[in-house]
């Protein structure tokens, strides 16, 4: 394979020649890198070659994978076998040359909060060579007994309805819950208890600490008409304003959306179960049917690479198959 990175002038892992050579590859993965707040995207190949490219480009200090919206228990036209597509996602995770440090599941693990659905999800995800799996619930995971079952299974060591934080190789990760106590006519909701906890949680951190927040419903107003937003996310983001690098990883909308606002990068992931329509392009945000041979190309996972000293994360969204 040709070495297509020649002049690493800005130490960002790519030069013009290399960029053009990268462009020649038909890829299914897209690498988004941010440098000084400006989004750049490059197509990449799948599988092992992708990881090699990643390693060359970034020399990542660590990587993790975001997986979302597995909806185990869903069985309609949009995808009659969501367990199979979750398994394909796990196979994709396991095909990387370097295993991720951990997985983040941004919720809607199950379709109806049924024990059998959670069992199946856990069973499939157990096969991922990825160390620990961190979860936050989606609204489908807290449908019965006020989300107690979710807490029993995935909430050890969490506070309130399942929020928590942890540090990993110098970065601070915060898992938030914005799918409980939803009010009529409202959007996602964090609630005052959680906001108070968040304010406290980040108080002692240096502003140079990279912060990664993950929650199910987007923490920005993607499309409020369809409930794609969080009523009190502004307050949460206010507590993170002083940090030099904040990344917000969400799910819920079953499609990739990105936004950069100052030091904050927002990113939503694909689902491993079924796609949903782009905002306003359908009468409602329900499961979107695509031809069976295209389904895997609209489902996927996100590889996230963290480099010490870089302004932000490099996120690679990988569909489960080429379209």
């Amino acid at each position: 394979m040709a070495d297509f990175i020649r002049d690493n002038i800005n130490k960002d892992g790519i030069d013009r020649r290399g960029f053009l050579q990268c462009m020649a590859w038909a890829g299914t993965g897209v690498l988004y890198t941010l440098h000084g707040g400006i989004l750049k995207s490059l197509p990449l190949m799948q599988g092992a070659a992708n990881s090699e490219h990643m390693a060359k480009m970034k020399g990542a200090d660590f990587s993790f994978i975001q997986i979302s919206d597995s909806h185990i228990g869903f069985s309609k036209e949009a995808n009659p076998d969501v367990t199979a597509t979750l398994q394909i996602a796990v196979d994709r995770i396991n095909s990387a040359t370097a295993p991720p440090d951990f997985l983040l599941h941004t919720g809607d693990i199950s379709q109806l909060s049924k024990p059998s659905e959670f069992d199946t999800a856990e069973q499939v995800l157990k096969g991922a060579k990825a160390g620990k799996i961190f979860y936050v619930p989606g609204e489908h995971d807290v449908l019965t007994d006020d989300g107690q079952q979710y807490l029993d299974r995935f909430g050890k060591g969490t506070k309130g309805k399942g929020w928590y934080s942890f540090d990993h190789k110098g970065a601070h990760f915060i898992g938030l819950v914005n799918v409980v106590d939803l009010k009529a006519g409202g959007l996602g909701s964090l609630g005052s208890d959680q906001l108070k906890w968040l304010q406290d949680d980040v108080k002692q951190l240096k502003s140079s600490t990279p912060v990664i927040v993950f929650a199910h419903i987007p923490l920005w107003a993607v499309y409020p008409e369809w409930g794609w937003g969080t009523d009190d996310s502004e307050q949460a983001l206010g507590y993170l304003k002083r940090f030099g690098s904040v990344s917000v990883l969400n799910g819920h909308i079953h499609q990739i959306m990105q936004k950069v606002e100052g030091n904050v990068t927002f990113h939503t992931a694909l689902s491993t179960a079924f796609p949903q329509p782009a905002p306003g392009t359908a009468p409602s945000p329900g499961p979107m049917k695509v031809p069976a041979d295209q389904l895997r190309s609209v489902l996927g996972i996100s590889h996230v690479n963290f480099v010490q000293g870089q302004h932000s994360l490099a996120i690679v969204d990988s569909p489960l198959a080429q379209s």
Binding site: L112, S113, L182, K183, A184, E225, W226, G227, P283, S284
Partner: protein, 119 residues
Amino acid sequence: MKRIRWIFVCAAAVITAFTLTVGIRPILALRPAENPAGGASVKIDNFSFGPADVKIPVGTTVTWTNRDDVPHVVASDDKLFKSKPLDTDDHFSFTFTKPGTYVYYCAIHPKMTAKVVVQ
């Protein structure tokens, strides 16, 4: 003669018994949602409640049926009622015994709101 009369009496008894059991049942079965005087129906589809505005007299039972391809939870704003998660074709019924305006929504998709006005 006595015998014929006895046969008639028996026949009448059998016919009466038959009518009372089999005949009445179909009439009783009409009481729930199909009979507008006895109940109201709300269809859930495309992430909305239809009709969104229901006006009923006190004592009416409203039945929600989910025709959407995603589950929904029917929940009243004042915590008066809340259904279990309704998958496609599941129902939930609630009888309104007091007058008032009851705003309700889907607890999973809270942007879906509607109301029942009980007079």
